[in-house]
Amino acid sequence: MQVEKTQEFRPKIVAFCCNWCSYAGADLAGSSRLAYPADVKIIRVPCSCRVNPMFILRAFQRGADGVILCGCHPGDCHYTTGNYYARRRMTLLFSMLDYLGVENGRTRVEWVSAAEGVKFSTTMNEFVAKIHSLGENVRLGDLRCKKD
């Protein structure tokens, strides 16, 4: 799936990838030439459990339109249990953002193993398409959303 390019809107998308599975999966997507839009920028973290909700909120506050977290499949964490904690943290964070009225499609967690270059690429294509359909992020920049 290829995302249609529109001149007006180039989303900013931050992808946190764990070093052992998803970052390697992204590398595999690269060496297999499995394209996805350049809007996705990857930040390498040792484990999905390293991702503090503050990082995600910071990205949104600084103008990101979507944030995706990728880690090893549950059960396959390099550090045994990291992604289980990440799963709970992200579930609760995403639910809270949804509760605040922020579009829940702007956040996503996907488990991508080192062997899943194809999955990495499809996931990113889907996610970018989703962000395109949601348009620019206006709600999450300022959660306090101060009215003048």
Partner: protein, 661 residues
Amino acid sequence: MQRIGVFVCHCGTNIAATVDVARVVEAAAKEPGVVHAEDYQYMCSEAGQLKIREAIKEKNLTGIVVCSCSPRMHENTFRQAAERAGINPYMVEIANIREHCSWIHKDIEEATEKAVILARAAIAKVTLNAPLQSGTSRVVKRALVIGGGIAGIQTALDIADAGYEVDIVEKTPSIGGRMSQLDKTFPTLDCSACILTPKMVEAAAHDKITIYTYSEVEKVSGFVGDFQVDIRKKARSVDMSKCTGCGVCQEKCPSKKTPNEFNRGLNTRSAIYTPFAQAIPNVPVIDRENCIKFKTGKCGVCSKVCQAGAIDYEQKDEIVTQNYGAIVVATGFDTIKLDKFDEYSYSTSPDVITSLELERIMNAAGPTKGHLERMSDHKPPKSMVFIQCVGSRCADKRGKSYCSKICCMYTAKHAMLIRDKYPDVEVTVFYIDVRTPGKNFDEFYRRAVEEYGVNYIKGQVGKVAEKGGKLLVQGVDLIDNKRILMETDMVVLATAIEPNPDVRKIATMLTASIDTNNFLTESHAKLRPVESPTAGIFLSGVCQGPKDIPETVAQAGAAAVKVVGLLAKDHLVTNPCTAKSDELLCNGCSSCEKVCPYGAISYEEKEVNDHGIRETRRVAVVNSALCQGCGACTVACPSGAMDLQGFSNRQILAEVDAICR
């Protein structure tokens, strides 16, 4: 303020074809802190590294950003280059502009823009980097091999011959694995047992090798150099020190109806059994599920007939705990279940068999004593049909997406052996492709066709049906473009192989990564094929991917060399990217301790000086020798006291800010 140097690699045209390297250099040079920026054809080359070293010296650089391939490729290369020029290796950051940029984007404008942003993120991060010092950890001079097939045996022998202790853990009652079930081996047609049993004996006799059969790995903790492993020795119900292996118990055992796993269920065995005659150890086990004594409390025949008094119904499982410097996974394979392939009538007709079952039928110690016969009526077949790629190369959920690699060759072997021993039997092989890369492999296959008259048909079989004691095969010949309808006596399915289903459990314990097909992932598909990405875990045999015996033995040796290389070290240099707690910010709440998978965090009552206030506080202390740097604690910590060196909160936020700028 850091003095940062940025080095942008062309990687030949790998990067430069899609990323305007000059523009990346130009943009990077404008970033705060950057005092040097240049590009080069191949940064990883000696000349490229020299450029980095020279720039460090000439411009007094304190931090380095290399925009190149994945850090998983060359981070170490550039760290070493930095170190040689006198700066701390952890002052290097990589912007991955190849795998994550030039290789996936086509538009030069887009790719260049992204490369600039990735460079900025790396510059922003390196600005906050601090020199880190590695510690050391011990290396336990002992290796564990999980799986006692040919892969495990060979790995263990090679490690032991280099002078290190090795333990083999084998789930079944004997070592030997799949190879012990084979009759002959391609392409030289050696008798499998004749070449395997000497290795089994050698392993058993080796003073550096300890074999735990009928045992499983139960728990693994620790890390490279110092794994702690619990091995469950299942109760054998036979005292290994007393048993003489006379075999009387097996003869007299009244429970003889258990399907014989070794013969793939083609015949039955007693409840007390050794899987095969050459089993090592030659000590039977009691299969408690099928033993009358264990089921009803009555019987005890084996105990009565055992002159050595070796039978011990009270025996319990035993847990052995041992430390190892390295672990080799050699868990092998099984054939897939064929329940989703109704069209071949495998589950309804006893004369439709898998190739591994045929191995047992053709083996002199097998269910038919080596006579080729139909399992339905024990009559010799007059014609046989072999079907290739059953469950291999499947895009659907019924089978496996990969080529099982060994089937073309063993099918040629079977066809040839049958034609050789029973020239009257007509042999037809339905194939999609015949894949025979390997020394003397294609010659072998051609001999089957040309010398032995095996009829190879390019095409597949759509249906096998039982009809009047015969098997009706409906297939197609794609070359002649005609339907084939033939009667035959036996059908042999070249069934796909899959990793031993237990491997997923083991991979989880070892935190070794595994792919969707349950094959263990290697650290690098080409350059580090016998190492798992998890340090200290090595791969041997089919657990890593389909392979035949010569390849397995070669890989087993390679894994052994890697293990020996590790065990030969006096100590290991540890990853300095560990968690660190700021005692002035620590609340002592224990959240971090709860999420640490390594028990690396403890608490101390410590006197702190918080801006003039001296008081005793409960603070978290990280044992950097145990910490592996996952960062779970950093997020559990509400105050931000716990941080991860090399991936600090501020560093990651700086990357976020740079990307979202």
